[in-house]
Amino acid sequence: MTAAGYSVMGVTAVFVATLAVGAYGWRFSRTTSDFFVASRTVRPGLNASAIGGEYLSAASFLGVAGLVLAFGTEMLWYPVGWTAGYLVLLVLVAAPLRRSGAYTLPDFAESRLESRGVRRLSALLVVAIGWLYLMPQFQGAGLALASTTGTGSWLGGVLVATVVLVNVLFGGMRSITFVQAFQYWLKLTALLFPLLFMAAIWLGDGAVSPASVDVADVGGTGDSWVSPLAGGEHEVYTTYSIIMATFLGTMGLPHVVVRFYTNPDGAAARRTTLLVLALLGLFYLLPPVYGGLGRLYAPDLVASGRAESVVLELPSRMLAGTAGELLSALTTAGAFAAFLSTSSGLTVAVAGVISQDVMGRRFGGVRAFQAGAVVAVLVPLGLSLLTEGVGVAQAVGLAFAFAASTLCPLLVLGIWWRRLTDVGAIAGMLVGGGCAGGAVLATLLGVGPEGWGGALLAQPAAWTVPLSFLTMVGVSLATPRRVPRHAARTMVRLHTPESVQLDRGNAPR
């Protein structure tokens, strides 16, 4: 059998297993609450695996290794930031967000600030960030399938969208929880198992340091491969901006936030997040090693601009014959698990918001959720097919900067600062979102200036996040009369343990 044949088998197995595990969850999914938040009964162990499975997207599975291979140590800030983002989420948001009792982020915004305007704006932002994040998943699936099996580049995205839609339509969050937990362990195995063989070969070859070889860098700025600072002139600014975006952007991603509502209570939400930290830390040990080994065994991928496929190709390059091809098929299967799980999580999150804020008027409950899911998948799929070739791979990084500048201040100030007003929240989200969004567009279209201006636009988080926070605080202080009437009661709901009998006001329905 050919290498492409093994890959087709691996990918098919992942699709079939995903549908089978999802079908196991379909049987349990009956009520609206099942579809939106798995009836809030998911235990920390299962939930942490599911969050890990959903969070580790194609950017983690394929992108990190490719970036490390091409650009070096500075790219390790992405996996570090994506994990540290969970620590920030744990200490600032996890338990209060669960205790808020809301289904979606707009629910939280409305119940905390008692304003329909904040709800509409945050719903808009959730859908925008969700779609910005879904597009690269579909495109990545197309590229991965095309490079391993030689099909058209549109097929991968369409296949992933179809499988996701089937599971979400029939099982909602209940079903997706099982699927994602399964996919975390599949992704970990798919990277770890080939790595055991490859590490043995590396040791057999004398354990050469990847830093000792000279590879024609695509960056080409004479930047040292081992330096932990981003290349170019403004390396300190760029590095800290990446840190700001990833540390604070994680909590604003719609598919991350929505999972917190599936915990039974606030303390469980904290423990789940701690487990997620452990699972993410374990996973992120692996992709950088692929990047380092790729520098020794597949350096030509950098020159040919295919550094991203290092995870898919490295096993068959280091191991001769069928063994290498089988291991490459395993990593290909893992990549598709990554596309599927992240897309599923985003689809549930975006569908929840669309069905409540757009469709809720026309039909309710499970029907609205299913209609929302169709819209949530088809729009970004269409966009990804239309914009083929545009640098959408950058979209994931920009989604973090955008989320950090809009939803992060809303969550942090909403939870910890009683005097936040609806006007302040709207102003902060508009200013932060406007600046970050404008910078994102300018960078994607390539119209940014040179020098400092370009650096500020390419990685905007370091200035847009503080700007958004300052605007929210300043405008809130200027409008003290608009502090929500029940702010004190809401604070009781957000912060007190569930075991205490207290008047918590009306949780959002």
Binding site: T73, L76, W77, V80, T83, A84, Y86, L87, V88, L90, V91, L92, A95, A207, V208, S209, A211, S224, V226, S227, P228, L229, E235, V236, T239, Y240, I243, F247, A267, R270, R271, T273, L274, L277, A278, L280, G281, L282, Y284, L285, P288, V289, G292, W416, A488, R489, M491, V492, H495, T496, P497, S499, V500, Q501, L502, D503
Partner: protein, 124 residues
């Protein structure tokens, strides 16, 4: 004179009932949003916020400080431990156990804060 025994009189202290009437459960203080209830709530929120900021400070200093250290002393990049460059060792491996440790300490302390709050409410 009749030799009847003195009538039994029930002795009660007027203080007990008065004292009992003054004891209002802390939970009701919070529900009624009295000033005392505010004190209970803001002490809980402030202790949790202080804890969160402490964890973030550890993150900022020990992880956020890495780029600064390597910018000020670029020669550190050339150190290798078992064929692994030092920046790589820090960012690819050492940082994850550190994040987990901070998270674990945070969860323990946050649950302790909540237990203290629950105890105060139960005692009253």
């Amino acid at each position: 004179m009749s030799e009847s025994a003195p009538r039994r009189v029930r002795v009660t202290s007027p203080r007990t009932s008065a004292a009992r009437a003054q004891r209002v459960p802390a939970a009701r203080e919070i529900d009624a949003q009295t000033r005392l209830g505010e004190v209970y709530m803001s002490s809980l929120i402030r202790s949790q916020l202080r804890l969160a900021l402490l964890a973030l400070a550890a993150l900022v200093v020990f992880v956020g400080g890495i780029p600064l250290v390597f910018w000020l002393a670029p020669d550190l990049s050339d150190i290798e431990v078992l064929a692994v460059p030092l920046p790589w060792l820090l960012l690819a491996f050492a940082v994850y156990p550190f994040l987990l440790l901070v998270g674990w300490l945070y969860v323990r302390a946050a649950e302790r804060n909540e237990r203290a709050f629950t105890d105060v409410l139960d005692r009253t």
